[in-house]
Amino acid sequence: MPAAGSSRPRPIKTKGETMLDRTSAWHGEYILEVDNITKEFPGVKALDGVQLKIRPGTVHALMGENGAGKSTLMKIIAGVYTPDGGEVRFAGQPLDVRTPLDALNSGIAMIHQELNLMNWMTVAENIWIRREPLNRLGLVDHGRMRQMTAELLGRLNIRLDPDQQVGELTVAQKQMVEIAKAVSYNSDVLIMDEPTSAITEAEVEHLFAIIRDLKSRGIGIVYITHKMNELFEIADEFTVFRDGKYVGTHPSADVTRDDIIRMMVGREITEMFPKIDCEIGETVLEVRNLTLPGVFHDVSFQVRAGEILGIAGLVGSKRSNVAEAIFGVHPAPIGDILIDGRHVQITCPSDAMGHGMAFLTEDRKESGCFLILDCLENIQSALITRSHVKNGFIDLRTVAAKAEEMAATLRIKTPSLRETVENLSGGNQQKLLIARWLLTEPRILILDEPTRGIDVGAKAEIHRLITKLAAQGVAVIMISSEMPEVLGMSDRIMVMHEGHVSGFLDRAEADQVKIMSLAAK
């Protein structure tokens, strides 16, 4: 085992001891043990002393809300991240992996949500990539590769043609290929990240049959999901994480659905939300039966002046797509949008802005900030598309003065507005984007994850600001994956599940369990 660059302890090998085959040397109860792992990112403790223990020949579900730390842990096991503390043991030995390939070679295979197959190559080529059987001349022996693939697929009861191009397969079939590939490495642990998120019911049954078969071969399976019914159907045990912390591990036969929901959401609301009740006026924005085929269907809701409408839902609930449709980023072809009771056509963001809308996007790096430009350019970008231009020249003096004022109001911390935005902290970048939209004086403000990945202090400031805007009569739509935020800030909560509105909750009646049962179905 190569020396680790980290502070993790390495196995001690005394003189004369032989390096035994890992499985024969190991007689422990758990094939994979995650012990007290901690991982911190700037401003966030993604994992705080979590544990996870996988027995061979079992399916172990790992559950938790968005941001509970499931993916971070998987990335640590796969060697993408190095933990700040703690240890991962595989077959009783400390695991030292730094790349996914290391993990694979040590006997841990991972099937990511986004499948990593090469679409233009055949099933056989995908499975044996880098390990192709060669003939005497050192060329790839396609005949033997085909035969090996057929045998492997036959063993797993997967009916696929080894010569078929992977690009022609369905998502479920691609998953089968990934599983076959994992098995071909003789992996002892198979990690599956939400494998059913993109496949049909019938395909799920087939997948489960294969999982049961793998289980009977003694493979330990980590099954990441937040679907409750799957847990009861396939998992022997489950572990729940919440906000980067370990909550508990139980056999799935011993618990009820409600127990698990409570474990997933049962945090105390520690952050303070400055929500004040303010006067709620007329309906400003109404959405009727908005549908983007294949993405979301029949979304209808209203927002009134001074109201904060929270939109809750899990990953894949398509909340952001609804927001993008309303703002004209990806317009929806079916349904109506009414502003002040009048039908409007919104085909591009500029149209939406013309109707007094502003949209803080979910991913500030992807579609929010101009990272390489300075603060001033970032703040003014929306404003100058619609006003402050005389004879073709931007009224830079006025714009800069307004930007300065807004930056001061929002207390954006930067040495100057000439500072490049990528040098700012996440919280300040977020405030900068809010400043961009506030300068356009919107009447309808759509916020998609307004406080994602920013520290507690900045969060509270942004919350205060949102409340203040609502008090001034702005209609606010706030998409958030953080339960306390949705509960603390919203007058009403709309819950979405896989592209459909699954219910509305009033501020008074809403609680975490109710939201979760609407969101997880």
């Binding site: 703002f327 980023v329 591009c348 963001p349 500029s350 939406a352 802005m353 949209f359 996007t361 992807e366 579609s367 929010g368 900030c369 101009f370 990272l371 390489i372 430009l373 300075d374 001033l376 350019e377 003014q380 970008s381 929306a382 100058i384 598309t385 619609r386 231009v389 073709g392 020249f393 931007i394 830079l396 003096r397 714009v399 800069a400 003065a401 930007a403 300065e404 040495p415 100057s416 507005l417 000439r418 500072e419 490049t420 990528e422 040098n423 961009r436």
Partner: protein, 336 residues
């Protein structure tokens, strides 16, 4: 020129840094030639006004193209068609600029036309080519590299087809005046000034930088990204055509092969001048310095009587070095 928006912002001259660095490179290279000049030739490189003015004259035609290319690269694209548009425009404008009474004129009935005719015809042609580039890139979403590569081959073919390969000569005096003396340098300076102002103080410029920095964010900010891209490429085509007219007027003749490789020289000037190939960063000022660096290197090698072959090889090395420097700068910024 003071930056108007700085009036309200605290004074920290960060944006000037990039240009300052490039200026230092220019000074360094010039001094190197000066020293080598005294050692190898026993005379001064910089202390020769005539040499310097010829040098500027040589690069200012490509400089006009480089201005257009600069805004294309800032928007995150590339334009490979400039050199071919130079060739095609030279042919078109010269065919309409032939002196009155010249018997073997391309259009015997259209000699001695007022100078605006060839000028407008040439510019419109460039504008058209650029618009086609822009529409292809913005609406079909093919990569700029491919769209402008297509235009590069097509426009060159057009230039050759136009007279079946025959050169066109004998322009009217007023047309020839466009390329006389230091006129190309003057035209370059006017173009540079216009685009310096446009990129810094107008919506056109702000949108260009925004698209290069993050097209998605630009779109969400309400910028019509497609329309802006068409404008950017159309203007690049227009400036290539202007360069084509100047080249033809200066040479008193037009040939289908004119402007070959100009696109690469123009891109090189911009890149040497600190315009980032990943988009969103760069300035006209930088490109102007890049252009002078380019000129100094060429004229320096000639001055040292080094073989022309070395010049090309060194040119290649410098272009790659400039891009490596850009990548390195970005890495350093990310770490900071």
């Amino acid at each position: 020129m003071s930056d108007a928006s700085m009036a309200a912002a605290p004074r920290r001259h960060r944006p000037m840094m990039a240009e300052l660095n490039i200026l230092l490179v220019l000074v360094g290279i010039s001094l190197t030639f000066e020293i080598l000049g005294w050692i190898m030739q026993g005379q001064s490189f910089l202390g020769n006004w005539q040499r310097l003015s010829i040098m500027i004259l040589q690069v200012s035609v490509v400089g006009i193209i480089a201005i257009g290319v600069t805004q294309v690269i800032i928007s995150g694209g590339i334009d490979l068609s400039s050199g071919s548009i130079v060739g095609a425009t030279a042919m078109i404008s010269m065919s309409l600029a032939q002196a009155a009474g010249y018997e073997r004129a391309i259009y015997p009935d259209l000699t001695g036309l007022p100078v605006v005719v060839p000028l407008l015809a040439g510019l419109l042609f460039g504008l058209l080519c650029g618009t086609i580039n822009g529409v292809l890139i913005a609406y079909t979403r093919i990569p700029p590299f491919i769209a402008t590569l297509g235009m590069m081959v097509t426009a060159r073919g057009f230039a050759k087809w136009y007279t079946k390969g025959q050169p066109i000569s004998f322009p009217s005096d007023s047309f020839a005046a466009i390329g006389k003396g230091m006129m190309p340098v003057f035209i370059f300076l006017v173009v540079a000034l216009i685009f310096h102002v446009a990129l810094k103080y107008t919506r056109y410029g702000k949108f260009t930088y925004a698209i290069g920095a993050n097209p998605q964010a630009a779109r969400v900010s309400g910028i019509n990204v497609e329309r802006q891209l068409v404008r950017i490429y159309a203007i690049a085509g227009l400036l290539s055509a202007l360069a084509g007219i100047v080249v033809a007027a200066r040479g008193l003749t037009a040939q289908a092969g004119m402007g070959t490789m100009y696109e690469l020289d123009a891109i090189a000037m911009a890149v040497i001048g600190g315009v980032s190939l990943t988009g969103g960063r760069g300035s006209i000022l930088g490109t102007m310095i890049g252009m002078v660096i380019f000129g100094v290197i060429i004229s320096g090698f000639t001055f040292l009587r080094l073989d022309a072959y070395y010049q090309e090889m060194i040119k290649g090395v410098i272009i790659v070095a400039a891009v490596v420097a850009d990548v390195y700068r970005q890495k350093k910024r990310k770490k900071a």
